[in-house]
Structure formats: C-alpha cells, structure tokens
C-alpha cells in the first residue's frame, strides 16, 4: 500500500507535467533561440563538470576505499557534505572562496563569479559526491583477492591499479559519471548563487526554466523545456544503465 502511494508520489508530477505540455507548439519551443542557447550552455557545463568529477572523484574514491590515513572520516564528510547542504549555501561558499573579492580573485585577477568556469565548478562540486560514493561502493564490494592474485603473478602496485582495479571499477565509474552528469545537468541553486544567470555563459536549462516560468507569456516554454530535460535524462539513464551497468 505504502509502496503504491510512493510510486504515485513520483508518477503524478510527471503525468501532470505531460498533461500541461503545449504539444502543438512543443517543437517551436524546443527550437526557440533562448532554449537553444541555454541548451548549449547546459551541455558544455554538465559535460565539463562530469569530466572534472571523474578526474577528481575517482582518485578520491580509491583513496577512501583502499587507504587508511589520519582524518579519513573528516575528509569523507567534507567530500560528501554538498549532498546534504542546500545548493544555495554551496553557492555562497563558492562565492566566498572564488569570488572577485577573495584571495583567489586577487591572486588570479579574475573571480569565477558570473563565468562559465564558475558554472562548471558549481555543478562539479554538487555532482562529485555522487560519483565518489558510487565508485567507493563498487571498490569496497570488489573481491580484494583479484589484486592479491595479480601481485602473485608479478604485477606491481601501479600495474595492479591500471590493469585490475580500475577496469573492475569501470561499472561504478560509469554509473557514478551518469549520476554526476544528471545532477550537474539539473543543478540550479549553487549555479545561480555563484555563477549568476547570464544568457550564453551561465544560464543553463534549469535557470532558463525558472526565468521562463516567471513570465506568463513564456510559461509554455518552461513546461516544454522541462519535458525536454525529462526526455534527455530518461533516455540517457535507460540506455546507459542497460549497456554498461551489469545487473546483479
């Protein structure tokens, strides 16, 4: 019974969104200049944020899963705190660290606020914990016997990591990257707080939706773009899950 109510809780908003859709003008809304521009920014920002999440998150996950070091619980808390922190707070924190009037801003001569790099950073910070936790989980569930056996066959630490651990973690890295990408694509709070809402550089699709929703004349576009994001997210999730993530 409770499970059924739970499913309805998720299904009803999606059905309502589809019922609200301006079907006759959907294609026109998709190809509106504002949508195309925000779509381009979203693609660039979410993919760059995912790349950053993989580059930084995979080594962090390996360190958390395989190494014992002082302060490990604190490090894990710091890495995963964006999961529970309101994204707006993450945005404020990023502004305090990388804004124009910070040490970083003075040293570099440029702050990251109101820049596409800032939007990428905001999306990466909120998305990386998803990747770290997914990869760490995969590593912890992998039989350590594989690495030990590779050692008995003469493989040193680097060869074991490259030829055994990393390939075995691949499903987790892919699953984590997909989750991180989905989170980066949907990122709103940290982006608008830290990077702003500038068309063509920081205005991503979620920001475009929020902006379009404020004006009664463009509310149809908000719904249309929402449907577009729903379709893209579902398509990627379903196709990649079946292809790359083995079913247990």
């Amino acid at each position: 019974m409770a499970a059924g109510v739970g499913v309805l809780l998720f299904a009803i908003p999606v059905i309502a969104l589809l019922a609200d859709a301006p079907w006759s003008t959907l294609f026109t809304q998709f190809t509106a200049p504002e949508t195309l521009t925000a779509g381009r920014v979203s693609v660039i920002v979410s993919l760059a944020a995912t790349a950053l999440a993989v580059l930084l998150g995979v080594p962090m996950a390996f360190a958390l899963a395989n190494m014992d070091f002082w302060g490990k619980p604190i490090v894990r808390t710091i890495i995963t705190v964006p999961l529970v922190l309101p994204p707006v707070v993450t945005g404020v924190a990023l502004t305090s660290a990388f804004g124009r009037r910070t040490l970083f801003g003075e040293l570099t001569g440029i702050g990251l606020t109101s820049t596409m790099a800032g939007a990428v950073l905001a999306a990466a910070v909120v998305a990386t914990p998803f990747l770290v936790l997914t990869v760490e989980g995969t590593l912890r569930s992998t039989d350590p016997g594989y690495e030990q056996l590779a050692a008995t066959l003469g493989a040193g630490p680097l060869a074991r990591w490259w030829r055994i651990s990393l390939p075995l973690a691949r499903p987790g890295v892919l699953a984590g990257a997909i989750l991180a990408w989905a989170r980066a694509l949907g990122e709103f709070g940290a982006t608008i707080t830290f990077a702003g809402n500038t068309e063509g550089s920081t205005q991503t699709l979620p920001l475009e939706i929020a902006l379009a929703l404020e004006n009664p004349d463009t509310q149809d576009r908000a719904v249309a773009v929402s449907i577009l994001m729903l379709i893209v997210s579902l398509t990627v999730l379903i196709t990649l899950r079946d292809r790359w993530i083995p079913r247990r």
């Binding site: 039989d143 016997g145 594989y146 030990q148 056996l149 590779a150 050692a151 008995t152 066959l153 003469g154 493989a155 040193g156 060869a159 030829r163 055994i164 390939p167 075995l168 691949r170």
Partner: protein, 242 residues
C-alpha cells in the same frame, strides 16, 4: 647457499593463528592436508606474501623472502612464485588468453609480447582449452575456470608453485590431463605445494604435511602417515584402501 624451501611460519589472521614448519627439497612436491579450517589456505597465503609473518622466516633457495626479526619482507610480486587459488579468481574483464598471459608480462621480461602470447597459447593448449581462448571467464564452467587458473600460474614457470585444491572443481576425465599439464610445464627444480583433500594427489607427493588448528600434527611420506595410528582422519585418507 641452501637449496629448497625452509619455512618457519608464524602468522595471525583475525583470531586464527598459524604456527607451522615446512621444508622442501629442490623439485619436491609437498601435499598439505587437513580438516576444513585447519590453516591450509592461510599457509599458502603466508608463503605467497599475502599474509605477513609475525615471526619465523621464509627462505627459498637461499633468498630470504620474509624474516620479521630482520625487517625483511618481500612483496608477493617480488617473490618467484605463482598461486592457483581454490576459487580460480580469473580476472573477469579479461579474456581467457589475456588471463593466461597476465603474469608473463612481469615474469618473462625481455621476451616480446608476441612470444609471451605464443607461450600463453601453448599453455592453454596443454590444458586442453585452446578453443576457449577468446571467451570471458563468465562463459566458462567451474572446471574450465579452474583449468585456466592453473594454466595462468604454471605458464610463468615459477620456482615455487602454490596450488589450493587445484582439482576440486575438475571432473575425473580432465584431472589426468590437468596433472599432465602441471607436470609438463614444470621447470626443473620447481617446488610445488599442493593443498588437497584427494588421496591420489597426496599419495604422489614427496612429502605430506598434516595440519590441525594451524599446527602441524604429522609430516612424512603418504605411506608413513597412512600407517600411523594416532590421527584417525589421516589414516582413513592415506591408509591402505579397503
């Protein structure tokens, strides 16, 4: 320089402790027997360097592999050995041939990749699995996986070969061929330590080491241990067949 294996093993794994001595001459085969939980696999893991010694030493052909008192401890990759684990542990992302060739990259340095691959194919052929070279481990039966694991270990021609119940998942028809493979690819002087529950394997060993609760309770030839009266399970295993 003393030839052969001299291992005085003291190690702890959780609450289990192992305190056993194993000696083997050059080219010897030692069978390790004992009830479940007696420490047979732990003994192999200690020799392999997966589990560290807390005291004692491991010396192979004069080279010290592990001696905590002197702070010496070679890592598994620094030891001239190969291990066949009980559950095969084939690398799931690699094909059969890549599994067999895996150790050759590190143990046969100086040989070309092509030569290493040919060597792997020969080992696979000797194990009767040439036709499965391109398959992935999950496409093999349990027995086939075990045979690949044996080929992967023996192909590196180590000085010490550790086998943990190597024939347990292999049917009778293939046991003979596999024993033949292990013998055929055995380099001169190789010491083999075989954990086994099989009477035949123990009978053909040069020496049998019987373990109980992490301690050696008897050692000698299979014939000698089959004649003793003190340890019932050992007499039942190695004594004259009815």
């Amino acid at each position: 320089m003393t030839s052969g294996l001299a291992a005085d093993l003291t190690a702890d794994v959780g609450v289990f402790s192992l305190a056993a001595t194993v000696k083997a001459g050059v080219g010897d085969t030692i069978a390790v027997v004992g009830p479940n939980g007696s420490g047979k696999t732990t003994m192999l893991n200690v020799l392999a360097g997966i589990v560290p010694l807390t005291a004692g030493e491991i010396v192979l052909n004069g080279a010290v592999w592990d001696r905590p008192a002197d702070g010496i401890r070679l890592t598994p990759e620094q030891r001239d050995l190969a291990l066949v684990p009980q559950n095969a542990l084939l690398f799931p992302h690699l094909s059969v041939i890549d599994n067999v060739a895996f150790g050759l990259r590190y143990r046969s340095r100086g040989r070309s990749r092509r030569a290493q691959r040919n060597q792997a194919h020969e080992a696979l052929e000797a194990a009767g699995l040439e036709q499965l070279a391109d398959r992935k481990p999950h496409q093999l039966s349990g027995g086939q996986r075990q045979r690949v694991a044996i080929a992967r270990a023996v192909v590196t021609r180590p000085s010490l070969l550790l086998l943990d119940e190597p024939l347990s998942n292999v049917d009778a028809a293939n046991r003979h061929q596999l024993r033949h493979t292990i013998d055929r690819l055995r380099p001169p002087g190789q010491i083999q330590i075989v954990v086994t529950h099989g009477r035949l394997h123990a009978m053909t060993a040069d020496q049998v080491v019987a373990l109980e609760h992490g301690r050696v309770v008897a050692t000698g030839t299979a014939e000698e241990l089959g004649r003793q009266e003190k340890i019932g399970w050992l007499r039942d295993m190695l004594g004259p067949a009815d």
